[in-house]
Symmetry: C2
Subunit: 476 residues, 2 copies
């Protein structure tokens, strides 16, 4: 093997990554001795000092340990850790959502900038194109001062809609600019969808676990929810959908098939196709959350439900909040055959979105910076997630399970059943560590021994120490 240095990369980093990959894959197991510095230097065709630097970093991360007068060993505490299984509900039954108080507390904790950001799913600013975007914003405003102060149309900036439509080919959605409504983030797209499809008291189908803001919205709109299990390994099972849809009068489904927050699950394209078919037959609209779709770690982008939609029954919700700029609040809704009603809801909620942010994102996409940026971002997220998994594997109590997502930015951690996630959440908050307790991701009490950890922040000693401390708190 020959370690090549890419532009702007350090050789020792490559060595470090190479070795940790093998440890995580289980190629070398706890107790194994690593090759000597000299031997490794010959193997990888790098200098001894590079290997030494890499070993030091691996030691810092807790993956290996040096034993005096003997060399480096894979730490015995390190172990391969299993993935949590899907939580099967005893019986499918509608629930009124009543977790708003706890969710509110969790939400405030996530937003608290004084805490270690293990609760924040958005990539940290260092990973976002902040400077480039600032330049573009200045330019578009300077060039179009009048347009920037004036109302956009209800559907939103046409250039932006064209760019989004153009990019929708990637995920098979193939929507046109005319099929799109620009929204204040994906959350507003989801809100518009539910206001369009339901009335208070109606029943909606969700997957469990699901993003807590969806539950909060469901509660806020006075809806009831029926939960089907989401499996960390395989996502949503079409059979569960079919069975629920046969038993209950469901007005809408809300599903995140690609890297569901919090379990990171990916529903395969074949299953997506089947689910769309089942729901179309029963005439049940499907609200799709695709905010993490662009953050895939594999070779190709997962497809969307929308890409299998033949009768306009899928309402696709997405945004640039996880990829370009959360604070720009630029999202979109492709409402299928419900466009008229969705436009009415948008108009009566806030008329239209802010003009300057739409203009800036449109220009950013047009200048083709996005794909290059996404590539870097995906690689960073994958790296951060790997490091966090390794640290959890080492620091958390026996019996812990972690997901191994193929994309997205969160890890879903199942703690031994006696550990209460909410208690851990409050304990961690006292030590200025922000996490999210599993309990807020379901209407039922199914995930009381779970927590969600986010990998959005650049990996650092501070983050590593935080995760380790969390492990200690859980063990206590």
């Amino acid at each position: 093997m020959n370690i090549q240095r890419g532009e702007g990369e350090y050789r020792y980093k490559k060595v470090e990554q190479e070795i940790s990959k093998h440890i995580e894959a289980g190629d070398i197991v706890p107790g194994d001795k690593l090759p000597s510095l000299r031997q490794m230097s010959t193997n990888l065709k790098v200098s001894i000092s590079t290997v030494s630097h890499a070993y030091e970093e691996l030691e810092k991360r807790g993956l290996i340990e040096s034993r005096p007068r003997s060399g480096y060993y894979v730490r015995s505490e390190f172990r391969k850790i299993p993935t949590p299984l899907a939580k099967i509900a005893q019986k499918l039954e509608p629930h009124t959502v009543t977790k708003n108080k706890l969710i509110q507390t969790a939400l405030e904790t996530v937003g608290n900038k004084n805490l270690l950001p293990l609760g924040v799913v958005c990539p940290s600013s260092e990973l976002l194109p902040t400077k480039q975007l600032a330049k573009i914003m200045s330019a578009v405003i300077r060039e179009n001062p009048e347009i920037s102060v004036n109302y956009e149309s209800i559907a939103g900036n046409l250039q932006l809609r064209r760019q989004i439509a153009f990019r929708s080919v990637d995920c098979g959605s193939n929507v046109t600019a005319d099929d799109l409504i620009i929204t204040t983030g994906a959350m507003e797209a989801l809100y518009i969808s539910l206001r369009t499809l339901t009335r208070p008291g109606d029943l909606v189908l969700i997957q469990a676990p699901t993003y807590y803001c969806f539950l909060q919205l469901v509660e806020n709109l006075g809806l009831r929810a029926i939960e089907i299990p989401s499996c960390p390994e395989n996502g949503i099972n079409p059979e569960s959908i079919s069975s629920a849809a046969t038993t209950f009068d469901i007005k809408a489904c809300i599903l995140a098939p690609s890297f569901n927050n919090p379990d990171g699950s990916l529903t395969s394209d074949d299953r997506k196709k089947e689910i769309v078919k089942i729901l179309a037959e029963k005439n049940i609209p499907l609200v799709e959350d695709d905010v993490y779709g662009d953050l895939f770690f594999g070779e190709t982008r997962p497809r969307t439900f929308k890409s299998y939609d033949l009768d306009g029954g899928v309402l696709l919700c997405s945004s640039f909040s996880k990829t370009i700029a959360p604070g720009y609040r630029v999202g979109w809704l492709s409402p299928g055959r419900f466009k008229d009603k969705a436009m009415e809801v948008k108009a009566t909620t806030n008329v239209s979105c802010a003009s300057p942010t739409q203009m800036a994102i449109a220009r950013y996409l047009h200048e083709a910076h996005f794909d290059r940026h996404l590539k870097r971002l995906r690689s960073a997220m994958k790296d951060q997630m790997g490091k966090m998994r390794a640290e959890i594997a080492m620091s958390f109590p026996d019996g812990t399970k972690i997901t191994d997502p193929k994309g997205g930015s969160v890890l879903w951690v199942e703690l031994p059943s006696k550990i209460d996630g909410v208690e851990l959440f409050f304990k961690a908050r006292e030590e200025k560590i922000g996490i999210v307790p599993g309990a807020v991701f379901s209407t039922r009490d199914a995930f009381s021994n779970y927590i969600r950890l986010s990998c959005g922040a650049l990996w650092s000693d501070e983050i590593q120490k935080g995760v380790r401390r969390l492990g200690e708190l859980a063990t206590e």
Copy 2:
């Protein structure tokens, strides 16, 4: 009298304004001969050419006419025109709002940039601080690239909330930064208020006429409305409120006490105080729309309902859309004692507003540009409104009545009863003139012979011709 030239003003403009003021006030009536150029030049201590220039402008505006070898006369078509009276409902009764289709058509017409903007209530870009704002936006983004891409808190940018709180002293509201939620325009503030206070099927009290987007929202939320008359001269009568509140189970009132769109009415401060007292006694929350409050033509800013609020029952909604930048979509809600619920609705609708636009407006307010700008804007709006009134007075059919608002940006025109406003709206649209038919401002068919004309655009030959042509169409 001595005509002084202010900085950047033309003397002839001052002369023109002086004379038109006297014509509009009825001091000189149709048929009266104006003083000769020489005489007027001596009277006003300006040059003959200045007077000549002013007379030409007045002739262009159609206020005076030159008769060969005789001099200038006030045009005989010009007449003093009365103000419409309040429309008293035969009987107070709840109505289901069903005007969405017509409102949608009107809304699309207002947004159509190919039409003469007599339907657009926002000041035209020339009257907005576009360049200053563009500079400020560039600066804040360049100085804070990270903050600008990150989520704001649910309540919104703290600096912005402080500025709004600081300014709230002017209108007596005296809210603190902590009492405020930043919203995507005042429309979102209103939407949050109604979602906070009502459920589908509930009854809300509104004034008639009222802004059609409010009606659309009421319909969209499945609410029913009870209408009390709004009087162009005196605004809202506390007795109507009291009587309706005694008879019906009202869950919320939505009132615009200062320059109500469309009738421009101003409810006096004494009446405001009484209305707040009546509603507090009956424990009925009051949603206040104050978007035009800063556009007063008199000496002092009208107070708000909020300034008389003792128990947090008033929810104040406002924005910078009519004064700084409609497209920035920066508004606010001061939700009184309903803050917790309102925050929940905001969080589940779209989490938070765009960061860059909030930062830019906060800086703009902080640098104290706003008051200077408002002064200029108020003077422009007053001037434009005066010119439009004069033109309507001359061009519209006999029996027409027009409001004479003390602020705001719209005129409410009552046409002779046989003329249908909706028909005129469609006719005008064919000739590329955008207006809004009166029918969309009420749940009942009370205003079928009304239209609303907006004075937001800089007065020009084009606008003048448009108004004149509208008069011709109405006469046909």
